[in-house]
């Protein structure tokens, strides 16, 4: 055979492998695709469709196509912008705190020390408490009259008298964020810890031999490896923070005033209290858009770093 036909032979074989591989890849994905679309497709399409209509359950016979009018109504209302601002504040507070704390704690738990197993187990505790119990627990802690936080701070001498944590706008938002951080930290720690455990020891060794100190180790060895997982953590935490519902439901119900009324809270009120499904679904899609926006930013920042196809 000539060299040309040999080469052509090789090329054909490679492309055949490539084709089979694609089919195999799709095959592997099929069960997951089915599981997800079966349950997600209808509700998502339904929600989008309804959001384009005037549909209030109190007037169920009215179902008028509005195009994007619902969205226009939302954007024109000052309550939307107020809710948006509060959502952004809350989300940034929670996500930044959780990410930083999560990395620190994961680094901590990656070290060897006696009792590490117990602490690693304890990490799950905040995550394991059922939502309603969790909300009430924080309510009792923050209670202005019989709460543990007040009791603690007064007995430590930090405060002179009991104060209301949830009765002032800024304080309420911070209190909510603190409670939410406590709640969601375990997820970040678990994921980051799993990623840290994969970092080959030789990378640290060789960097140390090059004279790297702890900060440089983190910047040049740990962080690139963590980048992908950190991206996942950021997105998951953002999703969770934007959707925070239980803590708001129990602790502040969106108050005082509208100080803790987030977009999701507004969605809930619109859909279920006012029974305005058209507007409520439009709100939900606005939330999706904003989440998407956050995600795009994260991807921009973190996707390229530490991309290591082995």
């Amino acid at each position: 055979m000539t060299e040309l036909s040999l080469a052509r032979g090789f090329a054909r074989r490679r492309s055949r492998i490539g084709y089979d591989r694609a089919r195999f890849a799709w095959l592997l994905n099929t069960p997951a695709l089915v599981a997800i679309t079966l349950l997600a497709a209808y509700p998502i399409v339904y929600s989008a469709w309804i959001s384009l209509h005037r549909y209030n359950l109190k007037r169920p016979n009215v179902f008028r196509f509005l195009g994007l009018d619902n969205y226009a109504t939302i954007v024109a209302a000052p309550e939307f912008w107020s809710a948006l601002w509060i959502t952004v504040q809350f989300t940034l507070l929670v996500v930044i705190t959780v990410s930083v704390l999560g990395v620190l704690v994961a680094l901590l738990l990656n070290q060897k020390f006696p009792g590490r197993g117990i602490v690693r187990t304890l990490v799950l505790l905040p995550w394991a408490i059922p939502p309603v119990v969790n909300g009430l627990m924080w309510q009792w802690i923050y209670d202005s009259k019989i709460g543990a936080l007040n009791g603690l701070l007064v007995s430590l001498g930090v405060l002179s008298e009991y104060r209301g944590w949830l009765s002032e706008p800024m304080s309420a938002l911070l209190a909510l964020a603190f409670a939410d951080v406590w709640n969601v930290l375990p997820l970040a720690v678990v994921l980051l810890l799993a990623a840290l455990q994969k970092i080959p020891a030789e990378l640290y060794e060789s960097a140390r031999m090059d004279g790297a100190g702890p900060f440089q180790l983190f910047r040049h060895v740990t962080f690139p490896w963590l980048a992908q997982t950190l991206l996942v953590v950021l997105i998951l935490q953002t999703l969770s923070a934007i959707r925070a519902f239980d803590v708001i439901y129990v602790l502040t119900a969106g108050g005082p005033g509208t100080a803790t009324t987030t977009l999701v809270w507004k969605t809930y009120l619109t859909t279920f209290e006012n029974l305005d499904f058209g507007l409520g679904n439009a709100y939900a899609w606005m939330v999706s858009l904003i989440t998407f926006g956050f995600a795009l930013v994260y991807f921009r920042v973190l996707w390229r770093r530490g991309d290591f196809e082995t």
Binding site: K58, T252, A253, L275
Partner: protein, 448 residues
């Protein structure tokens, strides 16, 4: 039975045994026959849903109903309390709602407009029942002139005080209007009995305007006219004046606890019962709890007064109810009605057995006027320390929130709560807040 037994039993007893056995067998066969014919009558099955407040009590009531009505089978499903309306919305949407279910008076308008309920006017026994229902409760069962349910319970908002504090401060006369409350509170504060004599929870809640409505009503004021247009803030200045009183109480006279902004009714109740505050307003079933030594640190000292308004008038507080309603899609209207009649009315013996049961067990307000004279109930009320004259007066003069049946009530209620909170946070003035609330009401009414 062995032959030995038979032979040793005297004849008369044997006779008795034989006849009673025969009778028993006969009855048995007869019963089986009845059963078969009842089944041939096709047992009607109905589904009944409510929020899960003490479901075992409801189950017991349902069992009694089924014992009295063997041809009806009731499948009772208690639904989660927290998200009951949301869950019912999902059920209605999918068509899996029950034949009968609980309804909150604040949702009645919305649920009727959505086409989920049917009127029960003219059903057997209803007119008779209605004659005995408190006026405010009866009003809340109707929408646009038609009646949609029978009462589960009816209750009023109360204004409570601690008589030991008043005695300690040397206050002889129980306050009868807001000015007198203010003076009494100032005395109590001066005597160092309480730092903040008035305790009230202002956290946003589904229908959290109860105290506000009660104060407006007790002052002889109105918020809405029959056409559901707001008469505040200008036509009827009561609303603004009440709000101004609250603002002064919190920040000027310092008798109203500012930390009330972060507690809701239930928390306020628990805090009150643990000994803080002198005056408080809360729902009716708090009273028996307040004087129950197992639950309250100040049992025996709590008394109720006529709800104070700006002036001492003979006007009652706000009252509300919860109802049992019937689905518009039920296929067993007759069976569903009989269940409603039993739960929200009388059993076969003619007693209000379900309502009485609820009251005696949990202090859940009863909706029927003649129950005031029931000796068991009077005994329980005396034990709880009620001043029965005041109680009966308040129930009889209670008023229904004027726009509670509109489809936009819930939204307006929440918005107004936020406005009131903003006033108490000193972010806006009472007049502004009421103007915003009125504007919102007009908007909602227009878009309804």
């Amino acid at each position: 039975m062995t032959s030995k037994d038979r032979s040793s039993i005297p004849t008369s007893r044997r006779e008795f045994l034989r006849t009673s056995t025969a009778a028993g067998v006969g009855l048995g066969l007869g019963a089986a026959g009845l059963l078969r014919s009842a089944q041939a009558q096709a047992t009607k099955t109905i589904a009944f849903q409510g929020w899960a407040f003490e479901p075992q009590v409801v189950e017991a009531s349902v069992k009694r109903f089924m014992a009295e009505n063997p041809d009806i089978k009731v499948i009772y499903t208690p639904l989660d309390l927290q998200l009951y309306p949301e869950k019912m919305v999902a059920l209605f949407n999918a068509g899996t709602q029950g034949d009968a279910f609980y309804v909150r008076d604040t949702h009645l308008g919305a649920w009727v407009e959505a086409g989920w309920m049917q009127p029960i006017d003219g059903m057997p026994g209803l007119a008779e029942l209605n004659k005995d229902i408190y006026p405010s409760v009866l009003e809340s069962l109707k929408y646009n002139g038609k009646q949609y349910g029978v009462p589960y319970y009816g209750d009023i908002y109360l204004y409570l005080y601690d008589k030991s504090h008043l005695a300690q401060a040397g206050i002889k006369k129980v306050p009868s209007n807001l000015e007198e409350v203010k003076n009494a509170a100032l005395e109590i504060k001066k005597a160092n009995i309480q730092q903040y004599p008035i305790l009230k929870g202002y956290k946003t809640n589904t229908d959290g305007l109860d105290e506000f409505w009660s104060m407006v009503f007790a002052s002889g004021g109105h918020l809405f006219n029959p056409a559901m247009d707001p008469v505040f803030p200008n036509e009827d200045k009561t609303a603004v004046m009440v709000l101004e009183w609250m603002l002064e109480a919190m920040h000027n006279w310092k008798i109203l606890d500012p930390r009330g902004l972060e507690i809701d009714e239930t928390q306020a109740r628990d805090i009150y019962l643990s000994g803080q505050g002198t005056f408080a307003s809360n729902v009716g079933n708090v009273f028996p709890r307040a004087n129950n030594p197992a639950l309250s640190k100040r049992a025996g000292n709590i008394q109720m007064m006529k709800f104070p308004g700006l002036k001492s008038l003979d006007k009652g507080p706000m009252g509300w109810s919860r109802l049992y309603g019937m689905s518009s899609k039920t296929k067993e209207k007759d069976a569903a009605w009989r269940l409603l009649y039993f739960m929200g009315g009388k059993d076969k013996a003619g007693t209000y057995n379900v309502a009485k049961d609820w009251y005696l067990k949990y202090g859940v307000g009863f909706p029927f006027m003649s129950m005031e004279k029931d000796p068991d109930i009077v005994a329980a009320q005396k034990k709880s320390g009620y001043d029965l004259d005041v109680l009966h007066h308040q129930f009889k003069t209670a008023q229904v929130r004027e726009n509670v049946l509109t489809t936009w009530y819930a939204e307006w209620d929440r918005f107004t709560q936020q406005q009131i909170q903003n006033v108490l946070l000193r972010q806006i003035k009472p007049a502004e807040a009421m103007a915003a609330s009125a504007k919102k009401a007009q908007e909602l009414k227009k878009n309804a």
